[in-house]
């Protein structure tokens, strides 16, 4: 009898088979955060002196780069967990046929999440290598950005799939694009969170990318501390809660 591991793997494989033909899309998706790194920080580093972070002064580009690694992890997961997930669920309806095999809905959800996390991690790792090459990384702890990017991927994937179970039609994805842009710009990616009034700082704590940005930044700059354990736990919490809810909602709708 098929094991859960095998079932999850089979779901991941289906995505690999599909993207083998459309690999250009995967590669193209990787560049966006790099453009932002060059576009924003290259120019602004001439007019922004060092930024204070974790009690130390950091060059602006080195401050922004790890945040954009977290963004690339988010982007890597977001598309597959939302738009593509909806396409499979409602347009292709392949999940309806997959659940008539020994593969369960939970296998499907985990498999799709694992696939989007593979994409996240690949983007973030490539980006990390680039930042190392450009001398923007100050600490060997930065290697931990790889598992952290996987965790960012899982949390975005869980939230994305959960949100997608509410989508009624393609127009609803306009809200998703807006949400991604707000997370991208607003998660203290380009400036310290202390810029915000205190109530905004509180709100930002309830969003996933901020914690990913904070983790990547302190790992890259070698300032990791107890606060980062908190960031880690928040991401784990997001993943667990929304993953559970997404699974339940799909079970309710597909196993009617």
């Amino acid at each position: 009898m098929i094991t859960n591991t095998f079932a999850v793997r089979a779901i991941v494989e289906r995505n690999i088979i599909f993207f083998r033909r459309d690999w250009v899309i995967l590669v193209a998706g990787f560049f966006e955060p790099i453009f932002w790194l060059i576009g924003i920080s290259a120019g602004l580093s001439t007019i922004i002196d060092d930024i204070e972070f974790g009690g130390e002064l950091v060059e602006y580009t080195a401050f922004v780069a790890p945040g954009l690694i977290a963004v690339s992890a988010m982007n890597g997961a977001a598309f597959d967990a939302t738009f593509n997930f909806y396409f499979k669920l409602k347009q292709l309806k392949i999940f309806d046929s997959i659940i008539t095999t020994p593969v369960t809905i939970t296998n499907v959800v985990i498999g799709e999440a694992v696939w989007s996390v593979l994409r996240s991690t690949a983007y973030a790792t490539s980006f990390l290598i680039l930042t190392v090459l450009f001398g923007l990384v100050a600490s060997p702890w930065a290697i931990l950005i790889i598992p952290v990017s996987a965790l960012i991927g899982f949390s975005i994937s869980a939230i994305g799939i959960f949100a997608t179970t509410f989508v009624r039609n393609w127009h609803d994805f306009d809200y998703f694009s807006l949400a991604l842009q707000v997370l991208f710009i607003g998660s203290a990616t380009f400036y310290p969170i202390t810029v915000y009034p205190s109530w905004v700082q509180v709100v930002v704590q309830f969003t996933p990318l901020y914690h990913g940005v904070a983790l990547c930044r302190s790992l890259a700059l070698g300032t990791a501390g107890l606060a980062d354990v908190g960031h880690l736990l928040v991401l784990v919490g997001f993943t667990a809660f929304f993953g559970w809810r997404a699974n339940r909602r799909l079970e309710k709708s597909l196993l009617a």
Partner: protein, 302 residues
């Protein structure tokens, strides 16, 4: 006797709507069994319960000797499901649809590839192996859906409205494939609202209406029990009427009158003797459509 499916008092309720109302079923291994009925009769709900993707509200359901409530995964490993909408992976090629699906049953890649190649042959799609599903005709998609359902050499194949939306030629081709499956001894459960399909394919069938079984048996026994050997179909002019005390059972439909008689020609003579000359007349043998009409007072397909 070896039973592939037994259902007892099987019920499916959605909020306050009863889709399936306490039905009993016994499907023997190796036979082709049909659920015949109009849209909304509860066929698809029954089918989804048998494929273990829809938990029954109440009642007992045993499939291939296992309890559907507790052994869903094991049961699904031995089922082949052909859903009403094909639900093929339109992003992939024909061949990839089969191999990826085989993986969902835990097959190794070499097994999956070998099965895919054989099934393409069976479905007469070998020369289409690398075609994207998106670009295929309805008939080809259906054949691929059937091939996909066979990828795990299932013991029980479930077909939900297998030929709805197909042209007559594609339909005949599909029936041939299903007949071949039957020859191989594969148990088949199918739903249909076409009486000719049920007559062509089914060894036994139940007629469903409003979530309940209204008749069951072999196609010929149902016809023998519920109706006459022949039917005379008449179209009358607007001002013509038939007397009410004919010695035959009659059904007046929207634009024709059906007269049930074992000898249709004799019935037509009788009517002409009464001085009624119909615009047109047709004598045919009774079908399951007539059984449905006799049992429910309504037509199967409006």
């Amino acid at each position: 006797m070896d039973l592939a499916v037994t259902a007892h008092e099987l019920t499916k309720r959605f909020d306050d709507f009863v889709a399936v109302n306490g039905i009993d079923l016994e499907i023997r291994s190796g036979e082709t069994f049909a659920l015949l009925g109009p849209n909304g009769a509860g066929k698809t709900s029954t089918m989804r319960m048998v494929s273990t993707v829809s938990p029954p509200t109440s009642g007992a359901l045993t499939i291939l000797g296992m309890d559907a409530a507790t052994h869903g995964r094991e049961i699904r490993g031995r089922l082949g499901v052909i859903p009403q909408e094909d639900q093929l992976d339109a992003d992939l090629t024909v061949y990839e649809n089969l191999t990826t699906y085989a993986r969902y049953f835990g097959q190794s890649w070499s097994e999956a590839k070998q099965n895919a190649t054989e099934l393409l042959e069976f479905a007469q799609l070998t020369d289409r192996a690398d075609t994207r599903v998106e670009t295929m005709s309805g008939g080809m998609r259906r054949r691929l859906t059937i091939a996909r359902a066979l990828v795990n050499t299932p013991d029980l194949v479930l077909l939900d409205e297998p030929t709805t939306g197909l042209d007559p030629q594609a339909r005949q081709l599909l029936w041939d494939r299903l007949y071949e499956l039957k020859e191989r001894g594969v148990t088949q459960l199918l739903t249909t609202h076409y009486m000719d399909e049920a007559e062509q394919l089914a060894d036994r069938l139940v007629i469903m209406d409003g979530g309940e079984i209204v008749a069951s048996g072999t196609p010929s026994s149902l016809i023998a029990e519920s109706t006459t050997a022949e039917v005379l179909e008449l179209r009358l002019a607007d001002d013509q009427t038939l007397s009410h005390d004919l010695p035959f059972r009659t059904e007046v439909l929207r634009n024709r009158v059906l007269i049930y008689a074992d000898d249709g020609a004799a019935a037509l003579r009788h009517i002409r003797d009464l001085g009624v000359e119909p615009n047109s007349s047709l004598i045919r043998r009774s079908t399951l459509e007539d059984v449905f009409l006799a049992r429910t007072g309504r037509q199967l397909v409006d």
